[in-house]
Symmetry: none
């Protein structure tokens, strides 16, 4: 991981301006022996020119062989060892649907489920009810009020929702009520330690569940709810403190905005229909106000998860076509990478190292790569490196790190 | 090292089937400027085809510059940081001659030595007596019996033997009696801590040495014995626990069977005259019963230690010719590597990173390698990586690791 004590000691307030452009799930695999990956197949003249000029390599999100979720993968790119800094599931889910988490709030993931006449769980996902039904049920559950806290509920997708308890004296140290099995009753929320905060939160959760059971009892099939992943803001070190950067996030999906906020970036308002070009124009609009802008492109990952090789390559081409909007800003450092690989052939996040190009005309070391792609990166100037080194590398190429020692 | 907590958390019970094929001491060096290494010189059409299709790289057994012994090198390949998990010399020596070590036994290495009339050591190796003489002396020493324990003695080679104390309440925390110098008397076995187990074991060792001195006193030149490397089973985490694998070892030499047993593999009976093809047929016989099979080929290392470049290349060719026996099993993951390098020009284990190929047709990232060899591996998809990442990589490519985080 980035050594935060070292970064705090070496980082300068002044220096070059940087863009971290992340195409989610960028890395891929060939769909047939001898063929190109999605990135290699895409026609990307702008990225190829940057790769040919700059330094290339492959970044390893967590450790070799470990495929990351989006939360840990982004923390890693921001320099936070995801094995040290784990953000609880409840918080990640809340961020994912755009629900803000205050420093004392507790967020938890919810499932609508089905219970039988004896109260035993028969389906932990309530038959995967439609998203609209889940949303309508959440609307009914908004009627629940609890003493001393504010409760917020927000549908996620199908049977899933997020619940947030807002108030003081709360704790994420509460056991799941999801029994992870059918044929048994939902568990009671139990505190995981002896603190009054954990006891209070568990008690609130049990009160909420009792009220929810009454409201849902005549619904079918979603006649009960299960809670898991109680969590609070992990209180991560912030970019301004660690890297001495005024940093902003341009992203469309709430999850990425949320993680950026957790590390202290300003989150720039965006529209859910923003194209890559729209996002790049937002970067241009705020260019004068920030040292560091993180710009996140989602559909590369989505098309990879769909298993649609050509559509994923087409997203990369769309990004490439819009890239002059960013390069016209003349950033001192432009780093292009993915948070992880999502090969269309694998239809899921994978562990494969992620193609990365670092373009910093004043300081980059050119290498033998002639285009941007997995195999071009394999013998690049950056080698294979942990994603947590991305920020130190960017700072260094921007002239923002003092020499270590005399 | 493989992060065992992470592996325990992410490893799945289900997934693809794997073969780890280790050619001991595989890595080599050119014998003249511009020439090929042993592996590059060998005619290996099957390995070359796998390398051309799959991912290649170079594994680093311990750290850069450090040549490993066989024990640590194998622990590293199995994911155990050899600097954290040290298996005592006595245990390694016992495993090396096929002597089983129970959980409470203490194993120690012995040397026959020469002492003068005053009892001072004049030759720590007793003139490197012939192996048959050492074996005959061991036979005589079997007469020694001690209270409360069983004693087993087994010749190794020349002046070396292994001694095992079997019983309860023993400890490996006992100082060597080998003074590592001539002109001084052998040391007494002294406990290294205050435990009654260490005191008991030291006392037993001193009793045994006193009896041995009586039996050996008229022998020449081997008229005394020295002991070093007292050790017990290190109680390593087991493959089934850490990786959720049912694993087996196919090997000819006792040492490799022993280390495999220490990590919880089933050891498949073999014959000392087994060829690589014989070993591969043993793999085929047990294929249905295991998730993971480690297959060890010894003569690559032996011929490297002999300094016989051509003979080492010929062993690689023999392995390659038999390889279809393994590929016909259609493993989901086949990883071919060495535990370390043994360049024939160096006639010893070396620190050079070891050529490694990972073939997993559903998930591997093809690279620019067109054949299996050191230089082809240098720009491979796996880069240079610690040998302790071999197991996580194999598990990932077999679809046996859950995603980390959401």
């Amino acid at each position: 991981m980035a050594d935060f004590d070292l970064m705090r000691r070496l980082a300068r307030e002044q220096g070059g301006k940087m863009i971290l452009l992340v195409m989610d799930g960028l890395g891929g695999l060939p769909r047939k022996l001898g063929g190109p990956t999605e990135l290699e197949a895409a026609d990307t003249p702008h990225l190829d020119e940057l790769a040919a000029q700059g330094s290339n390599g492959l970044s390893i999100p967590i450790t070799r062989g470990v495929a990351p979720g989006s939360g840990p993968a982004h923390l890693a790119m921001f320099g936070y060892d995801p094995l040290t800094y784990e953000v609880g599931r409840g918080v990640l889910s809340a961020l994912g649907v755009g629900v803000d988490i205050g420093p004392t709030d507790v967020a938890v993931r919810g499932n609508f489920c089905t219970v039988d006449g004896k109260g035993l769980v028969t389906d932990r996902r309530a038959g995967r009810i439609a998203t609209e039904i889940g949303a309508a049920l959440c609307e009914k559950l908004k009627a629940i009020s609890l003493p001393g806290v504010t409760v917020e509920i927000q549908p996620v997708k199908e049977y899933r929702f997020v619940l947030v308890f807002r108030g003081d004296g709360l704790s994420g140290a509460v056991h799941d009520t999801d029994p992870q099995a059918t044929g048994v009753a939902p568990l009671q929320a139990e505190p995981l330690n002896d603190s009054p905060q954990a006891a209070k939160t568990a008690d609130l959760a049990n009160q909420w569940l009792a009220e929810a059971a009454k409201i849902l009892k005549d619904e079918h099939p979603a006649n009960m709810a299960l809670l898991r992943g109680f969590a609070q803001d992990p209180n991560l070190p912030k970019f301004a403190d660690v890297y001495k950067l005024k940093a902003a996030c341009v992203a469309v999906y709430p999850m990425y905005k949320g993680v950026s906020k957790l590390v202290g970036m300003d989150v720039i308002p965006s529209d859910e229909h923003d194209t890559p070009a729209d996002e790049f124009r937002r970067v241009a609009e705020i260019w004068d106000d920030y040292d560091f802008i993180f710009c996140h492109i989602k559909p590369t990952d989505s098309r990879g998860e769909d298993g649609d090789f050509d559509a994923k390559a087409a997203v990369v081409e769309e990004v490439d076509a819009a890239l002059p909007i960013l390069t016209d800003l003349k950033p001192d450092v432009l780093l292009v990478t993915g948070d992880h690989s999502t090969p269309a052939t694998w239809r899921a996040h994978s562990w494969h190292p992620v193609p990365t190009l670092l373009w910093a005309p004043a300081t980059h070391m050119p290498d033998l790569a002639e285009a941007f792609g997995e195999r071009q990166c394999m013998a690049g100037a950056l080698g294979q490196f942990p994603a947590t080194d991305i920020l130190p590398l960017m700072l260094a190429h921007a002239g923002r790190l003092e020499k270590f020692g005399a």
